[in-house]
């Protein structure tokens, strides 16, 4: 991983295809890597038609590439972290040795608590329009009742995230006070307070992958991907333990999380979900969690997962860590999870 740029805001005042946001991001990663668009062997993006409110919302985004002569290109209707996975697989086939992965999503175009209701079982759930905040509240209370976490633990996650966000220029929410003060704030979606819930965020991101010598040419200290894996759980609420994320556990094991991770960027849109993920990924107490502030301070749909991976790579580029992981989630209640492990030295 040799380049990463992203942008996020509460309310983007431009088109849902976000071409005008992608163009400067592409320019930024070209500057970081010294590549031009002709150096890119494969392009892969992640976005959602329902987020944009129209079919084929990704089609116009291709303009941002400048796609004549034609390009080797693909798209997933998922967080761009899975576009990264497709690109990583493509590089391993030997067909290409560079890839540019991008994602975009304008959550504010619609009402996110309605839009995401369409991710549920269309026969027995969507007609009731359950929203993602309420579902997360049900999950959080199950853990509270079972003694898996308490309100203080949730406030600690939020406090740390808001404090770390002060150093993150991209954060759309920042400023910790104290755990005690956060606990004094009123309940919103009981048992969740507003700071336990990721803010509705618009954004776009671009990330560059390169293999072997191409990577060494493009970055002083590439973040070498040593393992990447993803996995999905059943969606039926009675078909999995709701306070666990077995798919995160399996993805972590397959990606080789094991020992030695110093920094972990976890895509947890709700405070308690960070606690679930830390347990499932077996992260020790010393691991630095979400130095960016994580999704609680900015959660642009369809790029927030890719952003976690880009942020984690950054701590390798800056020489702050030698082994890191980035995590992405998709679907209700941490249904689908991806883990990417990166190291400062090639294996």
């Amino acid at each position: 991983m040799v380049g990463f740029a992203h942008e996020q805001m509460t309310d983007f005042d431009g088109s849902p295809t976000m071409v005008e946001l992608l163009v400067p991001l592409f320019r930024e990663v070209y500057e970081q890597t010294g590549f031009t668009r002709k150096d890119i062997g494969f392009w892969c993006s992640g976005s959602s038609d329902y987020l944009a409110g129209r079919s084929f919302s990704f089609v116009q985004a291709v303009d941002a590439i400048g796609a004549l002569p034609p390009v080797n290109e693909s798209h997933v209707e998922m967080d761009a972290a899975w576009a990264l996975y497709e690109a990583w697989v493509k590089i391993q086939t030997g067909e290409v040795d560079t890839a540019l992965v991008y994602g975009f999503g304008k959550s504010s175009a619609g009402t996110l608590r309605r839009t995401l209701g369409l991710q549920l079982d269309p026969y027995t759930m969507t007609p009731l329009w359950p929203d993602q905040v309420s579902l997360a509240g049900l999950q959080a209370r199950l853990g509270l009742e079972a003694g898996l976490w308490d309100e203080t633990a949730l406030a600690e996650v939020a406090h740390r995230s808001l404090t770390d966000a002060e150093l993150n220029p991209h954060a759309v929410r920042r400023g910790g006070s104290s755990v005690a003060e956060l606990l004094q704030r009123e309940m919103y979606a009981d048992p969740l307070r507003k700071h336990d819930i990721a803010p509705v965020t618009d954004g776009a991101a671009a990330l560059v992958l390169a293999a072997d010598d191409r990577a060494r040419d493009a970055a002083q200290r590439p973040a070498w991907i040593t393992g990447m894996a993803h996995n999905i759980d059943p969606q039926h609420l009675a078909a999995r333990p709701l306070t666990e994320a077995p798919s995160a556990r399996r993805a972590g094991a397959a990606a080789g999380v094991a020992a030695g991770v110093e920094v972990a960027e976890l895509h947890a849109p709700f405070s308690h979900q960070e606690l679930i993920l830390r347990r499932e990924l077996g992260l020790a107490d010393g691991v630095h969690i979400n130095p960016s502030g994580g999704a609680l301070v900015g959660n642009p749909m369809f790029t927030a997962g890719l952003n976690r991976i880009g942020e984690a790579a950054g701590s390798i580029w800056r020489g702050e860590a030698s082994k890191v992981l980035g995590h992405a989630t998709s679907g209700p209640l941490l249904q689908q999870n991806l883990v990417c492990v990166m190291e400062g030295t090639a294996r």
Partner: protein, 387 residues
């Protein structure tokens, strides 16, 4: 690094119909998946990963339906990817699934593409009115008809060529029990007599709107060698270009030409008309057969219609095209591209039933989408690739 060998060892599809109101989305997918697994002689436990493809979510009104379908698709506890590249998606999905094997990441991958168009109205879903502009197009037919007119003008093709294609594909569909349309009386004359919808495109020159699914099992070399008749993947390609650009050739798009050239290079093909024994090409409007014949290098520019008119693309022709009946006979949009890839695999496996062409050693599967701008293709062969 070089690609690991990969082959199609299982193919399944649904009976495609205007309305499959006997099944849910899960049931529709499972009909194709269960056939593909049975064909491969594998069970869900043998599968390492699942790749799902379909066209816009607005068709079914579900955002990322693979999430709620995870259990039904046998994906729970496994990696699941969802691809969406417009009309080419069925082909792209198969290519992504193949890349999971070719990269050495997985050994046995199940891929499924579907569309349940009867849940909504495709013309609505594709053109939700936007502010500031006016709806001038009338669906996909309205979009493509002007480009067909351009082709006719550029090539001086006689006006009945589209009808020749439609009559051929509808007759071929009679040999395919899964096809949506089984109109035994379709002839060139009856097509020419059908209503002009989007002049120059007539009713019988358009594809139907179908519910349907297609599934493939793609496996690594060792697994494939242990099966009776694998369809070896000799090359795959995806190419994209913008929908509109100054002086972009919309009749013979560069992305399609580039894709074909790259594909043939991988597969060691220097004379496609001679070296490819059957082709399944994405032809949603009949005139696209001659247009793609040129784009894919089977005919010189401006001469694709002569190949069609001479019977060269019929089942007994020099290059049998769409022996399954093609998109003109079944069009579950998200699955249509994968059906082309699947039918190409069936031909080289010798398992295409009544619409089998004798002695197919190498076949082409082709899909395109958007405004003739996204292309996905593969070449499969009866023997493992030479390198």
């Amino acid at each position: 690094m070089s690609k690991q060998p990969a082959a199609v060892i299982g193919v399944g599809q649904t009976h495609h119909r205007a309305k499959r109101d006997d099944v849910s989305m899960a049931g529709l997918c499972r009909e194709a998946i269960d056939r593909a697994l049975a064909d491969a002689n594998l069970g869900f436990d043998d599968i390492d990963a699942i790749v799902v493809g379909k066209a816009p979510d607005l068709f079914e009104g579900v955002m990322m339906p693979e999430l709620f379908l995870a259990e039904a698709l046998g994906a729970a506890g496994k990696p699941l990817l969802r691809v969406h590249t417009a009309g080419s998606v069925g082909g792209s999905t198969a290519i992504v699934a193949a890349s999971l094997v070719q990269s050495g990441v997985h050994k046995r991958v199940l891929t499924v593409a579907f569309e349940k168009q009867s849940e909504s109205n495709a013309m609505w879903a594709l053109s939700v009115p936007l502010p500031f502009i006016m709806p001038v197009h009338a669906g996909a037919g309205g979009y493509f008809a002007p480009h067909v007119r351009s082709y006719i003008r550029r090539s001086n093709a006689p006006s009945h060529i589209g009808a020749v294609v439609a009559a051929k594909d509808r007759q071929n569909a009679l040999k395919n029990p899964y096809a949506h349309l089984h109109n035994k009386d379709t002839t060139v004359e009856s097509v020419l007599a059908s209503q002009m919808l989007w002049d120059p495109i007539r009713y019988d020159e358009t594809c139907p709107s179908s519910d349907g699914a297609c599934a493939l099992v793609i496996a690594d070399g060792d697994t494939a060698n242990a099966t009776e008749s694998p369809a070896w993947i000799h090359g795959t390609v995806m190419r994209s270009e913008p929908t509109t650009a100054a002086e972009r050739d919309q009749v013979n798009p560069q992305a399609g030409r580039d894709a074909a050239a790259y594909l043939y290079r991988q597969a060691g093909i220097t004379d496609p008309l001679k070296q490819i024994d059957a082709a399944e090409i994405y032809v949603p409007f009949s005139w696209f057969e001659p247009m793609w014949m040129e784009n894919l290098g089977f005919a010189e520019e401006g001469q694709g219609w002569q190949l069609t008119e001479s019977g060269g693309t019929a089942m007994d022709g020099v290059l049998p095209v769409n022996c399954s009946g093609g998109v003109l006979s079944s069009n579950p949009i998200g699955a249509s591209g994968m059906l082309r890839f699947a039918e190409a695999a069936l031909q080289v496996r010798g398992q295409a039933g009544e619409h089998q062409v004798d002695g197919v050693r190498r076949a082409l599967g082709h899909a395109y989408g958007g405004g003739s701008q996204f292309f996905a293709m593969w070449v499969v062969g009866a023997e493992p690739p030479a390198h």
